[in-house]
Symmetry: C2
Subunit: 361 residues, 2 copies
């Protein structure tokens, strides 16, 4: 695979120009670029600039409102629903998180459901906003249906991620950021490109049978929930995905289940959608709403150090703390730049040509 | 297996007498019995009266304070930490949930971490208390270390359950109540009693290798996290279990990780425990903090009915909604009584003899 090593700042300048050309305000373009950049720096390449042409196509199809003015449509001291005005999820979720943090400052915790939104990038970006305030952050989103609940052969759920970001002291924060399917779609894409088979437990075919062929997803198959089989707890992965869908979609007044709008602009919207757009759910809790922050941070460092010191099974060097590989990658890529695979590089170039933006990478 | 069919009311009268004899106040004995009964009625037999002799032994070993007076040690408008005074988790978590609900009534949401507590029964009991107030309930607890994080051969985590209880309209509420391990310890116990092997993916032996022998847990093995293998996402199950441990143990000032006190009274406490007792975390959010309750309930019914109407894979009759089997079992057992297996029946009888309580079943 050919890579193009690009500077984070130059890449961000380019993505900001693209969002600006779509019609985003200067601050929204900057914010959206920051969310994408965070994915690319943390090594979650499937959710960084690799998605940018997808957003542009949705905007071209009038499914993303670049000039969105999100507004609070329902509220208590610690809860709110934000109508995202059909805008980018990247900016809507980040703004919702700011509202949650403000509520938490005043009342200890804050929770915001978002309706009428779109793909929000990596959950980690939004949840991690809480960390600088010594708060615990949470972010959920539903997504286009690709996953079958246990015993079903239909795609009724998205890969519906869950993220919790938890501050530590001298150690890096713990950031749990995970899809509730057994494997992410990105892993199937990689196998397809390489012509590889996939392991049993990631995918079922159109009739609900196990398959090792990644092409079966497009042929009417479904991703499996975390746990993969009923015997190994797939009903738990389904339960978690259901929780994410209900908090993100039903609680906010967005769409849910099979009605969640597709990410790709060439697929039609489902008929009779019960809500507005895609939904998210974010929240923040002050650690010192429960105990003094220094005590908490000391215990978090002990927690992390004890897990790192764990005896490992043969062939493994270390137990990994959730968020640790992403933090390491962030440090590395800040220094060395971001390696874009050639298809993503060419895709960005094509987007710039279409939109008459100088391609500066 | 021999069963004794007992009346729920008679069973509850007996368990209340046992808790009273331990020294619980009348209201605490009633409450603790109610939590156990809820597990037995819902068919979660491992967490009902089957546990009662375990609580008695912990009380005998001075590890449960039956006369506990829990108190709030830290608080904001929507957060609190409750010191459980070494009492029963059954009552501590239920009282914490009442505090969370009161905070939610006033401010939209309420969140309570509990330190210095013990085993809290089924998570579902506590989370479901929110339902009658048209709130969403949440309950987490950490537990004795039996589970290894991905790549480790040490038991550093409990089966750390997650529960969300979500109201619906005409349909039964959605209740997601799940351990974050791939299989619960109870499933291993059943296999052991029958002399059966267990499937690969539930357990590793003392050196971290897959095993099908349920006896390997007692021989220094560990349960595996949801996902079972790294390839199938065991790091996600580990991340979820870590989230539960940190919310329950670190945020509350209780113990965490390998320091969580064992459920069985014959095992020693870990040296240098960093906190107090076992920890829980509960919370409640008003649905109408986000949108009108009737709109939410209508959409929840649509969500549930759509999933129930799903095409199933061959050999399966229906997609199951989280909490549905437990609600069905509850209805059945209210009518037909609770079937106690003979070892549990004899265990209760022995407890009554020891404590000089008439055995009335």
């Amino acid at each position: 695979m050919q890579y193009h090593q690009v500077s984070p700042q130059e890449l961000k300048t380019l993505t900001t120009a693209i969002f600006t050309k779509m019609g985003c305000s200067a601050s929204d373009a900057e914010l959206a670029s920051d969310v994408l950049q965070s994915a690319d720096l943390r090594g979650i390449d499937s959710h960084g600039v690799a998605r940018l042409s997808g957003y542009v196509r949705l905007w071209n199809a009038d499914r993303i409102n670049a000039k969105a003015q999100p507004s609070i449509v329902h509220e208590t001291n610690t809860t709110a629903t934000l109508d995202g005005d059909g805008g980018l999820g990247l900016t809507n979720a980040a703004k919702a998180m700011d509202i949650a943090i403000e509520k938490a400052k005043e009342h200890g915790s804050g929770w915001v459901a978002i309706q009428n939104s779109n793909h929000f990038g990596i959950a980690g970006y939004h949840a991690m906003k809480a960390l600088e305030h010594d708060m615990i952050g949470m972010a959920l989103t539903n997504a286009s249906p690709l996953v079958a609940p246990t015993y079903s052969k239909e795609r009724l759920l998205g890969t519906n991620p869950i993220c919790y970001a938890i501050p530590a002291g001298k150690c890096e924060p713990v950031v749990i950021d995970m899809a509730t399917s057994s494997a992410a779609n990105g892993k199937l894409e990689i196998a397809k490109r390489k012509g590889d088979q996939i392991p049993t437990g990631w995918l079922q075919n159109h009739s609900g049978q196990d398959t090792n062929n990644p092409e079966d997803l497009k042929a009417g198959g479904s991703l499996l929930t975390l746990g993969s089989t009923k015997e190994m707890g797939s009903h738990k992965g389904y339960g978690l995905s259901a929780f994410v869908d209900i908090f993100s979609g039903v609680l906010s007044g967005a769409n849910y289940g099979p009605w969640v709008p597709p990410f790709v602009s060439f697929l039609p919207l489902a008929p009779d959608m019960p809500g507005k757009g895609i939904g998210h759910f974010v929240g923040a809790m002050r650690v010192d709403g429960f105990r003094p922050i220094e005590d908490f941070k000391n215990n978090m460092d002990q927690w992390i150090n004890r897990f790192k010191a764990s005896d490992t099974i043969e062939g493994q060097n270390e137990v990994i703390i959730p968020g640790e590989p992403e933090a390491r990658m962030h440090t590395q890529r800040i220094k060395e730049g971001i390696p874009l695979i050639d298809p993503v590089f060419q895709d960005l170039k094509a987007v710039c040509e279409e939109m008459d933006i100088p391609f500066t990478l």
